[in-house]
Amino acid sequence: MNRVVITGLGVVAPNGINVPSFTHAIRHGISGVHFLQELKDHAMGCCVAGFPKEFDDSILKKYLSPGAFKSLRSTTVKYAMAAAIEAWTNAGLYINQNNSDPDTGCIFGNGVCDVNHMRYAIEMFDKLEVQKLGVRHIEQLMTSGSSGFIGGLFGLSNQVTANSSACSTGTEAVVMAYEKIKSGNAKRMVAGSCEANSMYIWGVFDAMRVLNRNHNDNPVAASRPMSIDSAGFVPGSGAGALVLEDLETALQRNATIYAEVISGFVNSGGQRNGGSMTAPSPAGVKTCIETTIKKSGIHPREIDLVCGHLTGTAADKMEIANWAAALDRRGEDFPFINTLKSLTGHCISATGSIECVAAVLQMHHDFIQPNINCEKVQPEILDVIAEKCIVRGPMDIIINTVIKANFGFGDVNSCVLFKKFTQ
């Protein structure tokens, strides 16, 4: 079995639209949550969202044909391409215009296409103007649109596909890419996920009454995972991308190695025993985490940092209990824990990949990103883990092993273990 390492990172996040700005933001606890008048105008209860406000799609112009760039409407595809291009160049790779690469593939997921773009196409249809729509829409509206664009850009001729598993999508993509390389079926994979800014998607969560409606006048305070007064999550968007590579190939080309992926696992709770379409089965979550650790061969005590899913809903306390049970570590023995979502909101299908990028950056640069808006922790959480485990301010500390998990609607789970690379 091949060892698998991470050699490239790219991100379009609400609080940073490239790796340097994102690293700065997560190190210093800078939020990317903003008020959106558009949400208020459409009678949403939650009128704040985490989205890459400063994103400028003109950076894509030099990578696409004029026709493709002119027709590019999908924010899903735009974010995905920008993150993937950054990860590719960050990995020290170049774009070969002449030959395709049979050893490199792409798994880039999303939950749904850019619904704003879909709406445009539907409106044209309803106005009886479908014949004027033009030719470049289905390539952006199909679920595999992002992976298709990325594959074409880099000339990838190993597997190029899109996975979809709700909020678990991004981490699942990383695990799938890891397995592909570990088994020898690819030497390199671009893995990631993306989510468009869409009030139509955010609105259906608002209708479920799972978004925070209490901080529309103070957006930075709106995303409050683990806090005693958390009242729902904050929706978000963006993309994260990672280049995974077999160790031998990475060493041969003297690539920078950000981390080693030492294990990963994906499962479902089967929507039984407490699990449902919208709630994770505790047994399923624990099995996912336990299996990831068992397959890695490390002891749970070696884990320095847990990068949780932790959205700011009633599920946070259950997640903490599941982590404690799976790691068999409680109280002061529990590792440090954080969630990126206090800074970005919940970027839905993009969340896993953005959070994997954050997890790797924290380990690579030896710091822990603070959980903001968590001044007073839920008592049920403090019944399980010590308060000192929940980092609230910037913390520089050596991190050797990070575990990251995400859980999604459909009762689906994914978990990955990153370790600082040593020969």
């Binding site: 044909s65 026709g67 030719v135 470049r136």
Partner: protein
């Protein structure tokens, strides 16, 4: 010809646009002008909308050169008495 050039120019890389000055009936959109074949379909759709003509799908897929494109468009325009 000039209107077709203008439509095509929207889909060409800046460094390729200089080639528009020397195009002939035999100029191939993909091989000579470095255009994406799917963009030629867009050019035809725009021409259809602009001139109120209809070109059959099976014909569009054969329009690989400037001359073929112009011939078909002129035929359709003639059918409309234009």
């Amino acid at each position: 010809m000039e209107e077709l050039k203008s439509l095509m120019g929207e889909y060409m890389h800046d460094e390729d646009k200089v080639k528009l000055a020397g195009i002939t009936d035999e100029t191939d959109f993909v091989a000579d002008l470095n255009m994406d074949s799917i963009d030629m379909v867009d050019v035809v759709i725009k021409a259809e909308n602009k001139y109120g003509i209809q070109i059959k799908n099976e014909t569009i897929s054969k329009l690989n050169t400037v001359g073929k494109c112009l011939d078909v468009m002129q035929e359709r325009l003639a059918e409309r008495g234009l």
